[in-house]
Symmetry: C2
Subunit: 354 residues, 2 copies
Amino acid sequence: MVEKNIRIKDIARLAGVSVGTVDRVLHNRGRVSPEALQKVTAVMEQIDYKPNLLARTLGSNKNYRIAAILPDPNQDPYWAQSSLGITQAQLEWAQYGIQVELFLFDLLDRDSFQKTAHRVHLARPDGILIAPTFYHEALPIFELFRETDIPFVLFNTNIPEAKPLSFIGQNLLQSGRVGAELMNLGQHEKGTLAVLHIDEDIQDSVHLLEKERGFREYFKEKSKIDFDIVDFNMNPKDPSFEDQFKTLLEDKNLRGVFVSTSKGTAVAASIIEKYGREDIRLVGYDMLEENLRYLKSGVIDFLINQNPKRQASLGISHLVNHLMFKKGTPSTDLFPLEVITQQNVESYLGSGIH
Amino acid sequence: MVEKNIRIKDIARLAGVSVGTVDRVLHNRGRVSPEALQKVTAVMEQIDYKPNLLARTLGSNKNYRIAAILPDPNQDPYWAQSSLGITQAQLEWAQYGIQVELFLFDLLDRDSFQKTAHRVHLARPDGILIAPTFYHEALPIFELFRETDIPFVLFNTNIPEAKPLSFIGQNLLQSGRVGAELMNLGQHEKGTLAVLHIDEDIQDSVHLLEKERGFREYFKEKSKIDFDIVDFNMNPKDPSFEDQFKTLLEDKNLRGVFVSTSKGTAVAASIIEKYGREDIRLVGYDMLEENLRYLKSGVIDFLINQNPKRQASLGISHLVNHLMFKKGTPSTDLFPLEVITQQNVESYLGSGIH
DNA sequence: TTTTAAAATGTGTACGCACACATTTACTTT
DNA sequence: AAAGTAAATGTGTGCGTACACATTTTAAAA
């Protein structure tokens, strides 16, 4: 028959104490005699007590406030996806008394990042999810969080020195290697490969350079073809941007283009299409609506999915697990480097959860 | 400030009735006067009541038994993974009074399938997760389940006529197309492609033929190269098996091999390695340990991940959502067709959840 | 020894819902 | 009009835990 789950009450009975004492031992709230402690721990070692999380959550009846700090979703469809993940998490956890509040900063403005973070800190939430896109500005912020004992989870960009509760994202070096692998596939002629960092804030490319490093590493180690790999930092706002790009495309030896950002992928695709160079292998990032169109039409050959939506929603889940369920969270949750092609893209769009 | 969630009690107060009446209306347990019903529904339309699932589950205090019917994991590492998914679900839900019991049948024995299913039916579980690998034997079983009102979820193999609570798996036609795409990538010489169904029970290949259909469809539609596509049903237990395979590999025009099963992928890889034909493109299924070795060494070029473990664990979750949380479950949950390569395989192994 | 405070332990209520059961109301039947 | 019955409605307890508070025990101080 069904083995009844062991309850605190059962432990109390077995140890010959009251539930209050067991509770104090379990959560070490002090005020327990050595003998009682011994009796309870003895029982605990014998049996496998698994607290009923439902009852725990219901009983504790706490309202937690979680703050999510990320760039303005209106500036970039990538962050719009992240923001959707937050919204999803909001709905999911609302009924458990968890309030998720969004704090946005300007993607291009380091000052705005700092100010937003400070504003969040003043609000003293119970947990923080943050995309620390500005390395230098982020460090003192983490210091603040730690001083006030607010647990925080990083996503998208890893800063190990931050010692966060956990980091959610991808291994960027490996991501670059996957990009290179997809670029290399079936190539059989020598030529040029271009790595493009298309971003409005070139400064912040530490993050992107990691992908490039992986890309180059792969070709050094693995490829049978000795490609000429060139890289460019491009700002689409720059008036000479399209000319630069055009010059690149006029090179008849150009075999492929690897773009390190999701927005940049769409930009690159549009120009490649405009100049009719669909023969060039184009590898980029993320299932933005625009990118999907170019993937389907064959301008983009591969996308590497960073799954921003899920990164964000899982970040909130990690915080909830920590705050409410007192569950341990993995210190790093590295997402798989999903390869999206013309043929499997539909299967990714269909399944909501994954 | 935090908006308190609306409780049944609140609805009762607003409608001027007792919680009992509200409860009866919400779950239409009858015995409610038209006036009371009207009053409560009026309130319900005004407000957005979201029942607290924690309290609901805790309060109902039911013990559900779920039966999982699948092939013996010892016969095939693919099913061993599924079985792991069940074990995981067992642990996850045990504390909520949900008992998951495993019922195994012989992968090669239709009779065993039937008997196991009947045995499960006699036990009258509250829900059933089943991998209906034998189409004809499965149909009358579903009839039984439906007669006794036991909700059942299909995984791995879809049988739409079964009208299950939900189906969890992949689109096999699309899966074949993805296989073809990976096969076609970078090929630039005419030649032969082989589709291999390596299975001990050739009869049951309806399921596998769907993949082949997708494979051929892709080449008809998309490929610039006019490949000669041949297919074989092979039984590794057959004494002539290796000879057959050897003959195939001796064809210098052979460009690629697509294997429709996970176990078969490993078998094919071992023979290809033995005869030193690593130049041949090999596309197969699933992250079995053996397959991972061949992928890393380059014998296997691509794997399509069917995620059997997650299919199983999610199947149980769907049943739990239906039984315990009374949540609607999607009628089909099609998993993404994940492409595994040498470079992204680690990222899949690392992340536990995905 | 008695008093007093602190430490240890036990008890009771709340969390939101489900459900069994008690009570009230409305309607027949005699 | 009284009794009887079924329908309608309300009340109370339990689920397993957290936590505030009451009670008991212990040890130190008078």
